[in-house]
């Protein structure tokens, strides 16, 4: 054993009294900061609680005046009229029309783009298209709304096709909203398909399947939960989208029976009614929150479904 005296190293046993390992400095700062970080995280729960309370309190006021049944199943929405009526069905049908049209556009286009990017595009092309997709996902919805109103409705529908429609239609709003949602669906389902292991594709190719067969029969089913999550998220975005419908779908709350009619959606109503500067505590003010609560619950339901599916696809790989 070497008995040289330490040069740069520490003084060692024996001879040195053991210095205690117990903390030399109390780390109060450390605990305080960690406590604050924790508070920040808990604040997110507080926000959700805040949303619920903020929506519930005026909604309860609202439902003291209007019965839940009349609200959910009434077919006349006229909160500002003298003989006020609070049947939410007209708003719901308009939301269903715009969202339905949007999804008819967004699902095939989004999935097609995702399949192309994931299975067919060369790496170089993909490297360009993915960021472009991300940027397109960030176009403000006001701009989409303007496009729907001026170009799709006015120029194309009324000008080129000479359709029997007014200044607004749920079709124009829905179509443009669909295009707006394409990047969301494409991006998430592309992630899901890219996550399918290469070995599964090779296994399929080795059996003589061509690329289409591999895509449709192997990759697509394997990525299904991620794809469903993307679609469900698309649904919740369509239901919650405000500006496009506020600009292009119109402002009359009537039961919508055809795509060329105008209609006011739930979000459209909230945006519009808020302009009227309703007094806090008035029935009109409470109405906003009742519709908001319905909207929140619907999207919450879709989000939970989406999260469940995402979890499942994370578990597989």
């Amino acid at each position: 054993m070497s008995t040289l005296t330490p040069v740069g190293g520490p003084a060692l046993l024996p001879g040195r009294p053991a210095v205690s390992l117990r903390s030399t400095r109390p780390r109060h700062g450390e605990s305080l900061v960690r406590f604050l970080l924790r508070v920040a995280a808990i604040l997110t729960i507080v926000i959700t609680g805040g949303i619920l309370i903020a929506l519930l309190v005026p909604s309860i006021e609202f439902f003291r005046t209007v019965s839940v049944f009349d609200f959910l199943f009434g077919d006349r929405w006229a909160p500002r009229f003298a003989d006020a009526s609070f049947g939410v069905l007209p708003l719901v049908t308009a939301t269903a029309w715009t969202s339905g049209i949007a999804l008819l556009v967004a699902i095939p286009l989004g999935l097609g783009a995702a399949v192309f990017l994931s299975e067919y595009a060369k790496p170089g092309l993909r490297k360009v298209l993915k960021p472009v997709l991300e940027i397109l996902a960030g176009i403000p919805t006001v701009v989409f709304g303007l496009f729907a109103l001026q170009f799709v409705q006015a120029t194309v529908f009324r000008g080129v096709f000479d359709l029997d429609t007014g200044a607004f239609s749920v079709l124009a709003a829905g179509l443009v909203m669909g295009v707006m949602i394409v990047p969301t669906i494409a991006s998430i389902s592309e992630d899901a398909m890219s996550a399918v292991p290469l070995s599964m594709r090779q296994g399929s190719a080795a059996l003589g399947a061509n690329r289409m067969q591999t895509t449709v029969r192997v990759v697509f089913p394997a990525a299904l939960s991620g794809i469903i999550a993307a679609i469900v998220l698309g649904v919740s975005r369509a239901v919650g989208e405000t500006m496009i419908v506020a600009i292009a779908a119109g402002g009359q709350a009537r039961i919508v029976t055809g795509p060329l009619e105008q209609g006011q959606t739930m979000t459209g109503f909230i945006a519009n009614a808020a302009l009227g500067d309703s007094r806090v505590g008035s029935l009109e003010y409470d109405t906003l929150f009742a519709v908001g609560l319905l909207l929140f619950l619907v999207t919450l339901l879709f989000n939970f479904i989406s999260i469940r599916f995402v979890r499942r696809f994370r578990e597989i790989y």
Partner: protein, 296 residues
């Protein structure tokens, strides 16, 4: 050596066939530790668990001050797990739990009032893969002294001293401000050693420090370890038996027992002695099998 008889007892009887159960656990505790003069770290009946799974069982070991001790054995025998329990790096793993006692200079490092951070300051660690920080070479070295609030009158001198001791100074002295990621793997590992020296620990734990390095870089690290032994206690886990034979004063051989029910492998100490004795005349058959390459 007492450990030999203790280890031998594990192989006898039908105990091995059941789930791991050691009836003589307590009987041996009184027999004391292997005779290591000047022990700095002592393990007494150390068991390490990951949740319900027992990764290491009943280890009695003492590490001599300013010696190099090697921990060898087949993979999954709990060497690294034991090493990590010596400076409480296991604290960072969810569900990890240490039973028994690990003392450093006579003080139980798992005592409720002991500060794990203080323990790690005294017992440093070098990892399997070089893990320089994404900072300059200089800042990699200065990081430790800064965070522990060392009152270095001149940080530049401290950095130079640490790099010199780690035999890296001449190679990097002109590029101290450059990213540590620009260094080769061997240089990175020496940087990690220098970084550890800079906080002036008493013990340096090394977890297979050469496993990702080429033979030339490996031999430089071995030379370095030998020089550092003058001032530091070094405990090294290695897969490379020649390495243990070359550098270590003492060697502990571990093996793993598989439970028949769950297939979980629990590590235990078979034999601990002077390196020369372990490699030339091991007392236990399993050690001999492993050393001669018949097993593992």
């Amino acid at each position: 050596m007492t450990t030999n008889t203790r280890a031998a007892s594990y192989t006898t009887g039908s105990d091995q066939k059941r789930t791991i159960h050691f009836p003589d656990e307590h009987a041996h505790r009184s027999k004391g530790l292997p005779a290591v003069p000047n022990a700095i770290i002592e393990c007494k009946d150390v068991n390490v668990y990951y949740n319900a799974f027992r990764a290491v069982t009943g280890v009695d070991l003492a590490f001599g001050s300013k010696e190099i001790t090697a921990l060898i054995g087949p993979s999954g025998c709990g060497k690294s797990t034991l090493l990590r329990s010596l400076n409480r790096m296991n604290d960072l793993i969810d569900g990890a739990r240490v039973e028994g006692s690990v003392t450093f200079q006579g003080e139980d490092i798992y005592h409720r009032e002991v500060d794990a951070i203080e323990v790690r300051r005294r017992i440093g660690m070098v990892f399997q893969k070089p893990n320089p920080f994404p900072k300059s070479i200089y800042d990699n070295i200065a990081y430790g002294p800064r965070v522990i609030g060392m009152k270095a009158s001149n940080m530049d001198d401290l950095v130079e001293e640490a790099l010199t001791r780690a035999a890296l100074w001449t190679e990097v002295k002109d590029k101290l401000k450059q990213s540590a990621f620009g260094l080769s793997g061997g240089q990175q590992q020496r940087l990690c050693i220098a970084r550890t020296i800079a906080v002036k620990p008493d013990v340096i734990l090394m977890d297979e420090p050469c496993s990702s390095l080429d033979p030339i870089a490996t031999s430089r690290i071995e030379d370095l370890m030998y020089e550092l032994r003058e001032d530091y206690t070094i405990i090294i886990v290695t897969h490379n038996m020649q390495q243990a034979a070359r550098v270590a004063d003492r060697t502990a051989f571990f093996t793993a027992l598989a439970s028949e029910e769950t297939g979980d492998r629990t590590g235990l100490l078979v034999e601990y002695d002077l390196t020369k004795k372990i490699f030339e005349s091991p007392a236990d058959q399993r050690t001999e099998d492993y050393i001669s390459g018949r097993f593992g």
